[in-house]
Symmetry: C2
Subunit: 767 residues, 2 copies
């Protein structure tokens, strides 16, 4: 397969032809307040480095109990905080659990303090106060003034290297700290081992191995200072310390190897006023030697501004793949920030020489593809990867190869559930890799050579009977609630995933697989209880569970969504859903009631992932299981309710400031929902080539595809009030249905919407 | 450089020409009782695998305090014990500290017990009673009957693979345990991380990472059973357990990944009576993939007896490099056991594809050489590596390349002090790598391309001022006792090492280095106090330390030897030593008194390495600093006292049974002393090409060198009483001196000794 290069160059060329500065519309602070779990720091598109500040580093456990405060710090940064602990190199974007926060660096002056201090008494530790007035973030650039030290801190990055620029005051005791104990979702035993090696007077290498959300994860680094340090040292906080030095050395000072579980290191300098000390900090999944190679390859100079510019050009090139005009500037900011957040992960997870850590613990070589990690699939199969199938086709093809490589390395063997730095963290439910593979196969994004591999891996995954109730599911046709948690959610999602396998089998004319999984795909029928008109938990004896609260989100057979929302989850066949609910009118009324009911406060305590901010009635936009629901009116006689509902959600659930996300961005899924919906369509059934039509928020949009074609979307009579579609034309021909096909989009041309204040109940009939 | 193959083939050919079975004389139990610290298990010459039983696995610390009992278990086995805990794959031979004991395997039947139990109540754990009557050891083969389970256990090995054969009784609950918590010199925090992966129904891979004597050491494995297991599982003993499984799996049973700090796994079988289950267990320093490759390459079949025979042929080939005839069978057994113990370490430390773990933590490739580890240099520079320079020249050349590779990878940069599985454990004192390099250079064993590298690395090592008092030493000419431990021992050993550097510099005509280090080599003068006629601790102010007990071995400026012994340590210039002690007669009387004084018991409590067994007067044969001392009469007018003393030591300090070593074998040094001395000469000054003549114990010996030549030693009138040399002839010409040169030996020919009951005081004049 070809390398990334041509695509990037083509994109850059494209950008230079369309020289609008899109990065000005991106606000990296969006989602950093409350529970968006985004980070404001510097990163390249899908880059391995996310160099970003931590405003607190709380321990996961206090007195042996879970500390609920830590959930706010999934990405290390909370906008309302007033101190910064330091700047670390890895952050998830928008996840509902976390990890990472590797290699926290912090400059300081004066007395050397190696403990981080607390937010209420920052002066007792190395952290510093800061103010949003002296803080600035753009794609690939973050700046903050650390007022306790009179140090200005700036950051930019390449894919694998973080670039720090600290402007110091005059000081004879300036420090740069490297805290290897600091981490996100940290706890006492999380560090497995850490190692630092002072290679010479300005270069450090090392690694950290952790058991966190990943069972065991090792990340290597190389850290190059622009200035020689005067002296250095470390403190070790291990309970039992390595005893091997035979009293030969004072290990703590100017001794070039530091190893243990809990280490904080410092490097001392003398600085004159306004002196800048720069640090290039490279990561590697495989070795310190590879980290050094990554460092030397990606930043072979000390020109910070050049790296910043190259990164911003790259961002502009990515963002310009969808060029929109909006009614308000705020809409444009929300849109490009959403697009920015959609292009953060999965991340490239390999060295410049294409080596990476495999799931089997061995160093692997990414032959013919770019390897990616961070697949939060329960979230991202819905809209993020479908978005990539439109505007990141080369990358999504490589992501599919990464899933298949994971499968090959897995001992189970299974496709990823949640792929996490050479680990499977098994988070959430389903086997939604198959949705990604089916969608990429249906849309011809998957390499044809991988079609059969994809189907084989999918079938094996779906038949791993010891995984999460699959044994029961294949035996009984449903996951019994007395045998397995979240039984109904699992049954419904397995059924959808099985339908995805049917799509692949049909392409490959595998009639046996198509037939087998076709039957499995109907399993939603087995958990629909017509008596209560709801999906409901069923027991292994075939009886329905008696104590069942449709509103509860946990402990009732459902996960991160209650029965009201999950009952609407048959994305593979909304028509069948309508029938289960008694036909179109009855279903329409059911949807109406979903959006209008009140949910009591006590239900919010049940899951961290659902907050009042993200709720409309019982509909939960702040979490995934219902993201397709607003589009379901398209299967009733009132599709205009989808149109108004979509515009309402676009306007109320997203914003252009730090509180602009109503829930976790979930590795880009929330943002990808916005991008699709703002363009006017959404992939209700990934694995199908159809996009369900909503109501565009744009005045116009130009999508540039990697096949060289462009789709120009023009929205006539667009305004805040004109949320209803009057007519649709593609290349001048009317579209008398409520979906568009993938081929229609990627073949390019002109897509036109005519909007109005009132629904056109006649023009567009239901599909 | 050429590969090992031709040498091995040549050796095998040599063996087939001289078909005597030498392995019959080897008793692997020698040294397993008391403090010899040898192991009885199966290994190849210099093999990576030492597959041997543990008779106890005590914790290093009990209630936070050092447990003195653990010292006896440096190699895992104590002959007087009556239970066996299991069989692990790595063991040091004869070291005075320890580590290793990786991957303990134990078969059992009946109730599954995962704890090892205790020696007094073995039935409470998985260990078994055994009896020496049902136990047998040969080179590359060990067998024991486990009476608690009616299981016969047999072991053989290749360089990288241990081969187990268990003969079970009929049982529906037969088990094979794999205890990853078990280790030698173990303590609670030693395990850093462990991982097991059940690749299929009979193959396991994994690794263990420990912080023990090595700062952090990772060893990978692949474990192939000959029979599919019925079920498997593990128990985890971690304080905080990985939380990532989302209740999806019962991780403890039939789940193919097991990870954590403290894990014991089991594999269950049904067996019929006399059913054999075999296990191939391969090690790798770099990865599980490499371990699998090592396994498949070295044992591509299940023929246990073939591997045993191939290994024994290889041992015979190595042992036949010195073919001796002795007065008694017991002497022959002691000799070949000593030769066997001399050929156990350093061990090959690389995969079949030549990859190994570097000191910098990166995977390295051994370009053009075989990489070795376990260099216990304070011990082995004295006689073991000089022995290799005679009869293991290819290997010693590769060992020198291994030292230089270590230097290249070291951040300090320094040559090894104690090279330990990609770690430097800094054990003991000196920088004796330079002695090895000098000796190999002087004797033309070192690759000429490496001469300059060797000198450069040696000079850099000797000038690492922050290492162990070198800063003071280079400034003051001695290590001051108020600034650094073991000051006198260090000064004396540095002075000798510096003389070694002079030898290299002279070969390379580096007059500056020769002159600089020539001065440093005289530093022994700075710690000789003529008032007390002894080497003595000197303070940084130039005054002698006042509280000084010449008999004490610790805390007085000396390490593992008292002032009496260390005062005789100027190996680079015994002549100068004689003069310091007032001339030949005075020195001779001093030596006489050394061998005849009584040492009070309380001195033995001072160091674990010196026991009553290894003492003659004040002379300590059981530890190294005095190993050259019996030869020092050669520099007086009474060289015959060396002759009688050597014969006396050979007879009293070595035996052919389990208590046959009077102290730690120290990675082969004690045994190499025996081999040399039994042949009639000894390298008093490694780095010189001279061997000092003692008194041969053999009746005859044939040394086969890798240059194709042979040295035939014939000892006329040899008997127990005839310990005095009457005359010596080399190729028919009289040798009228007390040394032989390296060239004289390796050029081959006939060396003849004529022995007698009384000293010939006239024939041989002193040198």
């Amino acid at each position: 397969m070809q390398s990334n290069k041509p695509t990037v160059l083509a994109s850059l060329l494209l950008f230079s032809q369309n020289a609008e500065n899109y990065i000005q519309y991106v606000n990296p602070f969006v989602g950093t307040k409350n529970m968006g779990h985004t980070f404001p720091g510097s990163t390249r598109p899908f880059g391995m480095v996310q160099l970003s500040p931590e405003t607190d580093t709380l321990s996961y456990a206090v007195d042996g109990k879970y500390n609920p405060k830590v959930y706010a710090y999934c990405s290390g940064y909370q906008f309302q905080d007033s101190t910064i602990v330091g700047f670390s190199h890895t952050h998830f974007s928008g996840t509902g659990h976390s990890d990472l926060g590797d290699f926290l660096v912090m400059p300081s002056i004066g007395e050397l303090r190696l403990n981080p201090g607390t937010s209420t008494a920052p002066e007792k530790g190395y952290r510093s106060r800061y103010s949003h007035k002296n803080e600035h973030a753009e794609p690939n650039y973050y700046q903050v003034y650390l007022s306790d030290y009179n140090i200005n801190a700036e950051f930019t990055s390449t894919t694998r290297v973080g670039f720090h620029r600290y402007t110091f005051p005059q000081s004879d005791s300036a420090h740069v700290l490297l805290d290897l104990m600091s981490g996100i979702y940290n706890y006492d035993e999380k560090n497995v081992w850490t190692f630092l090696r002072v290679e010479n007077d300005s270069l450090i290498t090392g690694y950290r191995q952790t058991q966190g959300w990943a069972r065991t994860r090792t990340l290597y680094f190389a850290m190059q200072f622009s200035k020689k340090f005067k002296e250095y040292g470390h403190k070790k906080y291990d309970k039992q310390v390595y005893r091997g030095f035979w009293r030969k050395f004072d290990e703590t000072k100017d001794f070039p190897e530091m190893a243990g579980r809990q280490i904080r290191a410092y490097f001392n300098f003398e600085t004159h006023d306004d002196e800048q000390i720069l640090i290039k900090f490279a990561l590697s999944p495989t070795s310190t030697a590879a980290a050094l190679k990554n460092l030397d390859t990606e930043i072979p100079h000390w020109d910070f501004d050049r790296i910043k510019k190259e990164g911003q050009d790259e961002w502009n090139s990515e963002l310009s793949k969808i060029r929109v005009e909006t009614i308000t500037k705020s809409d444009k900011e929300i849109f490009y920030t959403a697009l920015y957040h959609s292009f953060l992960s999965p991340i490239e997870y390999m060295d410049v020489e294409k080596t990476y850590a495999g799931l089997d613990g061995n160093t692997q070589y990414a032959e013919g593809f770019t390897n990616y990690t961070i697949f939060s699939l329960w979230d991202t199969y819905r809209a993020l990867h479908p978005l990539f199938n439109l505007v990141q086709t080369k990358r999504n093809s490589d992501m599919m190869e990464s899933l298949l490589a994971h499968f090959d390395q897995s001992v189970h063997p299974m496709l990823p559930v949640w792929s996490h730095y050479a680990n499977e963290n098994w988070c959430m439910i389903g086997y939604h890799s198959v949705s990604l593979l089916a969608d990429a196969m249906v849309k011809n994004v998957l390499n044809p050579n991988s079609f059969q591999r994809a189907l084989d891996a999918s079938i094996k995954t779906a038949n791993t009977t010891y995984y999460d109730g699959i044994g029961f599911y294949t035996q009984l046709g449903f996951v019994p609630d007395d045998k397995n948690d979240y039984s109904v959610s699992k049954t419904l999602e397995y059924a959808y995933d099985d339908w995805c396998i049917v799509q692949m089998a049909d392409i490959l004319k595998d009639t046996k697989a198509s037939s087998n999984f076709g039957v499995r795909a109907l399993s939603y029928q087995n958990v629909f209880n017509p008596v209560v008109v709801s999906m409901a938990p069923k027991l292994s004896n075939g009886k329905w569970r008696s104590d069942f609260d449709k509103l509860s989100t946990h402990g009732q057979g459902f996960i991160e969504g209650n029965a009201w929302n999950y009952s609407l989850y048959i994305p593979q066949n909304p028509q069948a859903l309508v029938e289960l609910f008694g036909g179109k009118k009855s279903f329409e009324l059911h949807l109406d009631s979903l959006f209008s009911q009140h949910l009591d406060d006590h239900y919010f305590a049940q899951t961290e992932d659902i907050t009042r901010d993200g709720i409309i009635g019982l509909y939960v936009h702040g979490n995934e299981p219902g993201h397709h629901i607003p589009y379901l009116y398209n299967w009733t006689d009132a599709p205009w309710k989808t149109q108004s509902r979509i515009r309402m959600i676009l306007k109320t659930m997203y914003g252009n400031s730090s509180d602009g996300l109503c829930g976790n961005d979930d590795a880009g899924q929330m943002s990808a929902w916005y991008v699709f919906s703002a363009l006017g369509f959404y992939p209700v059934s990934p694995g199908s080539e159809n996009y369900s039509i909503g109501s565009p928020l744009m005045k116009s949009a130009v999508l540039s595809f990697e096949n060289g074609k462009q789709l120009k979307i023009t929205v006539h009579h667009q305004s805040e009030e004109n949320v209803y579609i009057q007519w649709i034309q593609l290349n001048g021909k009317p579209i008398n249905r409520l979906y568009l096909t993938h081929k229609e989009l990627i073949d390019g041309g002109n897509l036109e919407f005519q909007m109005g204040k009132k629904p056109n109940k006649n023009l567009i009939k239901t599909n």
